[in-house]
Amino acid sequence: MKILVCISNVPDTTSKITFTNDNTAFNTAGVQFIINPYDEIALSKAVELAEGGKGTVTVINVGDASTDATIRKALAIGADNAVRINAVPRDAWFVANQIAQYAKDNAFDLILTGRESIDYNGAQVGAIVGELLNIPSVSIAKKVDIAGDAVTVEREIEGGKEVLTAKLPIVIGTAEGVAEPKIPNMRGIMSARTKPLDVLEPSTIDVLEHIVSYETPAPRGTVKLVDASEVEKLVSLLHDEAKVI
C-alpha cells in the first residue's frame, strides 16, 4: 500500500498568537513550529499501516525551506521519504492543487491528512484533493480500519458517530482516536537525516481567497468571584446579569 501523508508546519500549541505589519501578518518571532498535531496522528496511522513491509509512507508538505526541520521530524517518526513543494502556501485551493498534482503522478492508495490545521483551521485541503483526484474523501475520522482495499471509517457527527465503508483509493482526514502518536526513537532520528527529501517546484495556480487582516479576541473583564458557600448568588448572576439561564 502506497500512503501519502500531507503535513503542515504550524506554530506550537503553546504559542502566543500576535500579528505584525498592521495586523496583516502572523508574527513568527520566537515561535516554535511543529507538525500540525492532527497530521501527526495521520502520520502515526500511516506508519502503523505500513509496518512490517506492508507499505510505504511518503510525506508531502507545501512550504519553503524553513519547513525542512518539521519534515525531518516526520521522517524520524517513520515516513520513508518526503517531498516538499517549494512554495509558501497561499490558500487551500493552491495547496490542494500542488498535492493533487504530485498524487496524480505517483498513484497512492491512501492519502491521509489531519482533520484540520491548527493555524488557519480550514479543514479544506484533504477534501479538495479528493475532488481533484475524483476519489472519495472522509473528513474527521475517529477510527480507520483497512483490510485489502476495503476501508471502514468511523466519522464524527453531531451527538454520535457514523460508520461507513469505502474502497481504496480514498482521502481521510484524521482526528484523535485514529492512532497513538508515535514518538521518534534514536534510530529514527539518525536515519531521518539520510532519507530522501525531494524538493519540487510548484505548479502555477490562481488563488481564490486571501486574508486581509487579523485580530485577537477582546479581553474579558475581570472575573467576579462568588463565595463557595453562596452558590445561589451565582445562579442569580447567571439569570439576572449574564442572562444565560
Partner: protein
Amino acid sequence: MSILVYVENTDGKFKKSAFEVVSYAKSIADNIQTDLVAISIGNVAEDELAGLGKYGASKVLNVDNERLASFVNQAYASIIAEAVKSTGAKLLVLSNSFSGKGLAPRIAAKLEAGLADGALELPTINGDKLTVKKTAFSNKAFATLELTSATKVIALSPNAYETKEVGGTATVETFAPNIDQLDFTTLVKEIVRATDKISLPEAEIVVSAGRGLKGPENWGMIEELADVLGAATACSKPVSDAGWRPHSEHVGQTGIVVSPNLYIAIGISGAIQHLAGVSSSKTIVVINKDPEAPFFKVADYGIVGDAFDVVPKLTQALKAYKGI
C-alpha cells in the same frame, strides 16, 4: 447575485444549524436585495420543508431519493454544486457542521469557489468581493478573509448566528439530479447516536470537567448538573486521553471548538490549548480549588472551591431556581 443555502436534517427534521444558516443567508439576501433558495437532501416531509419560509427562504428545492436517505459526501456535493449552477447562485451558504466540513471544500472545488470556513459574522459584500470574519489559530485569533472567486461559499460556524423568524412562506419544488451519475462509493453502514444527549457543538450550555475530578467514577455529579441545565457535557484532553470520557467530548485546540452561551469549567486548569477551544463562549464560569488557576483570568464568574463540595450545591441551587 442570488443565494442558495443547504439545510441539513436528522431523520427528516431540520437541525438547529439549518435554521441558523437560513436566517444568516436571509440577512445577506436582504442586504443585497435578492431571493433566498434552500436545498434539502434526504427524506423530509413537505410541511417541514415549507417551514423554512418562516426563516426567510422563498423556495425550497427538495431532493428526495431513497439512495440519498443517509449522508453520502461525494453524491451530496455533486447535487449541491449542480443546484448552485442551475439556480445561478453566486453564493452558497451551509453549516460548518461535521458533515458540512466534508462537503463544503468539495463543492467549492467543483465550482472553483473560494470558501470561508467557520464564518462568524455576516459578510461585507462590495461588488464582486466578499469579506467575512472567521476563526484562526484555533480560536486564539480571528481572520478577515476576502473571497475573490466568481462563485463563493460560506460555511457558517454552529452557534455563531441566531435564528430569526421573519414569517414568510416558501414553495417546495422537486429537484431531480441524475442519480446514476453520482458517486456512492462511501456507504453508511451504521449510525450510532446517543439520543438522550445534547450534541456538544450545537449546545447552548456546556458543563465541562477536567483532571480535577480525579477519576471517571466522579462524573455522576457533572452529568446531573448538565441535566438540570439542559447542557451538553465536555472534558479536557487528559481526561479523554485517559479514557475517562470519550474523545467526542474533548474540547480545545486539538478537540472540538465550542461557543455556547454558557461554559462551566470544573477542575480544569485553563491551559492555553484548552482555552483556545472555549474562549468564544459568551459567558464562562470557572470552579477550581486553586485561586491561581489560569482559567480564572478568562472567566466571567468564578468560585474558588472544591468541586466535590461546590458542584452538588450548585445543582441543588439550580433545581430550586427551576422549581424541580
